[in-house]
Symmetry: C2
Amino acid sequence: MATSTQCSEGFSPFIKNVTNIKGVLLDITGVLYNSAQGGGHAIEGSVEAVKRLRKAGLPVRFCTNETQCTTKAIVEKLQRLGFELTESEVFPPIPAVCSLMKARALRPHILAHPASLSDFSEIDQTNPNCVVVGDAADMFTYHNLNKAFRILISMETPVLFSLGQGKFYREDDELSLDVGAFVKALEYACDVQAEVVGKPSKTFFNTALQDMNVSPENAVMVGDDILNDVGGAQKCGMYGIQVRTGKFRPQDEHHPQVTPDAVVDNLAAAVDLLLTHR
Amino acid sequence: MATSTQCSEGFSPFIKNVTNIKGVLLDITGVLYNSAQGGGHAIEGSVEAVKRLRKAGLPVRFCTNETQCTTKAIVEKLQRLGFELTESEVFPPIPAVCSLMKARALRPHILAHPASLSDFSEIDQTNPNCVVVGDAADMFTYHNLNKAFRILISMETPVLFSLGQGKFYREDDELSLDVGAFVKALEYACDVQAEVVGKPSKTFFNTALQDMNVSPENAVMVGDDILNDVGGAQKCGMYGIQVRTGKFRPQDEHHPQVTPDAVVDNLAAAVDLLLTHR
């Protein structure tokens, strides 16, 4: 009854529990900066917002599905835009899938962006027994998709890894198809279900949480992707804050499957909320 | 009890009812001929098999999901390979989708093979309010898929037509991704379900049956695609014969969803079966 009364007073579950937040996960593209050919630009107030979280003593990790470049390149790009962060704080899918393949003695055929390939350099890629698909962008040609398809269809039990499962992203103010769409094409053609490495995988979120030594109920994810950031974090037991930047679209505020714990204009507003209710 | 006894004697439903066959639908690629760059070649015995059906007085229609060229080009290619047929006997998806769009006042953005586009020439393509996807092959580029995607995602209620829903086809002895895979990519990205025009759509099969004035229970479809030819025909009330040519793979004989009424080596063997049990 006490809970019911509190709810009727208009407190969102997020605001009620904000004093317990001990760690913050941030999406990168569409939250810290807007992607564009040639590098993009920081979203207003985001550089300062990250600094304020650190100053407040809240551990921060950067949980991204970015696979168009190496982790090193992600960090260098963000540093150029004014963000303060180190490579060890960034969690993208490629290192995660590499650990997983090593553990399972898998040798991938890789369909990914050329700029990301050096992060796979320690993995044996001879005589492939699985396929890994990242955000290959222009490399999603009929030829390259057929190459991946023919390897999968020739396997008795096809093994397919999807680095995230994004539907689309925003770049240069246009929406573009993301890796999830192309993985659906391969899944359909080969009657296989991909294993998703990256958001919204629980294992993936948990790796970043463990690195901060914070439990899901004490953590919040801030992202622009209603399904993979906000919904994924909530399924993992975290709070999920939706920002109205990046790939956000007005209909996300009435999403049929996901109700964010808060919807705010941008990362600066999310950090205001977090620090005010601390 | 009589039926049960007949079954226990080992008669397949197909063989029991073969005397009622009054019309035959044939798939083209993988049944009449094998596709290859430069034209392909007739499958052994197929030219003669079509002639034998005609000689026996059985009406024949060619029910294809071919969208890489015009109907005229399909017919000319088959005639060059020795087949006797006229354009009016061939039922591909493009004329069907054009009738449908005219009836519904739809103006398409078309993602299809350049060689097929003249069959859309009578359709208004200005200011598109739907997207049509055919087997675009090499034209399935990231750029072209994004163009189709952006039109769909900008519509309040996206309308997407898929010309067939094939998973893959065989060309030059290699399997290649078919239109169905790319439509799944767009469906996923836009949260939309495509309307399929072509096999296995009932409306599509029925158009060819009506042209012969034959009921489904008196008709048989011969195809190499277990799902779209054989399964589709059966769902429509026809018999479905699977040939072991074209995209057939040994595992199709134990398909989890479809049990053909007969599985035979090729079209010649299918016609043997049809004429023997007539």
